[in-house]
Symmetry: C2
């Protein structure tokens, strides 16, 4: 998505740009994020930026791409078949998430805020289709557990998928409201999202989630 000019840049300058923009989109929604402000901050001319990227959207999609790819490296190594039940698998995914979070805090910040970009008028449509894809993936996930005889059959798979989606995407909010952990502060500072003792609070929250979700999802 970036132009050739961007790739020709010294790696350090590329990194500087990427980092600063990850930060911008972590703090502000798409429409509120200001390219002008970032460039002023970095001492880079407006015109230069547009030699690197076609548009704001191209930049945003690029960032989303690299973060997604990087996170996938962590999450993809966790395989469902290595776990006896869904919840141990689920838990392990979060453990990997914490690794990613600590090793790539800025990317982690960016990805955590992505759900909020839905509310940006300019990219709403983009996110509607993206949401549909997520839902399709989650539905397949849940269906698999139903097929294994582990999840209940009396509730529509899609409904369960929606619950899972809604609850998992709100874990940050959960941590703020339940533990008073100001996760957004960490993001503003560019620290790992779950900066407390290697994510101990997050794992506590995950375990609480599991307790709740188990009784909702598991076959009795």
């Amino acid at each position: 998505m970036p132009k050739e000019t961007f790739h020709n840049l010294p790696a350090s300058k590329q990194q500087k740009l990427v980092d600063r923009f990850l930060r911008e989109f972590s703090i502000h929604r798409y429409d509120d994020a200001s390219i002008s402000a970032v460039l002023k901050d970095l001492g880079i001319a407006k015109g230069s930026f547009y030699q690197y990227f076609e548009s704001k959207l191209a930049l945003f999609l690029y960032l989303q791409g690299i973060c997604g790819t990087q996170k996938a490296k962590y999450v993809m190594q966790v395989k469902r078949e290595d776990f006896p039940d869904f919840w141990q698998y689920f838990r392990k995914l979060y453990e990997e998430g914490i690794q990613f979070d600590q090793q790539h805090p800025l990317m982690s910040n960016f990805l955590h805020q992505i759900i909020h970009h839905i509310h940006s008028p300019t990219i709403k449509k983009l996110y509607d289709t993206w949401l549909d894809q997520i839902m399709a993936a989650l539905t397949a996930w849940v269906q698999h557990e139903v097929d294994l005889g582990l999840f209940r059959k009396d509730i529509a798979v899609k409904s369960m998928a929606f619950f899972l989606f809604k609850i998992t995407t709100s874990i940050m909010e959960y941590m703020r409201l339940i533990y008073g952990l100001e996760v957004e502060e960490n993001i503003k500072k560019g620290l790992p999202v779950y900066a407390d003792e290697n994510g101990a609070t997050l794992m506590k929250a995950v375990d609480e989630y599991i307790l709740l979700l188990q009784s909702t999802f598991d076959k009795q």
Copy 2:
């Protein structure tokens, strides 16, 4: 919150303004809503508006106030003690909500979108405290059921309250993803949010919610 001048206006003009602004804030988040655009639309001068309201925020709070008051009239008549269990009470609240929705569609639209205004930088702080209040109320609600011996005791009351909060505020999204019901289209048109057959789809969704939440919340 409005100035005296606003109250001196003929009722029909007041209504015209209120309706149009409810619509504006239903379609756009606080920061994206444009006073200028609305006034142009209504053929009212910028200066006049500022004789009616101190500021954009004063207007917004006024709208929030009148909508909240009106909805309370519907919801407050439903009393917990008139129902044998929480879920019948819960269900009845939604039935009243549908009444309100059909009789005051614009207000209903406004209130449904209010949760999205959280993401507006300008009023974020306002909403943070508002959220805390909602959570406190929900927590008391859940605590009451625990005290009655109807809800489980092994999960923190606050956590259950959070689940309830998160799930109930996403029912519109649920209806879009599960039933393909384009609720936002209704809002854009100023129709009742649940414009299909007196809210039949909503009640179906509520019943599905209850089925799911029951197994999560009820004492076994």
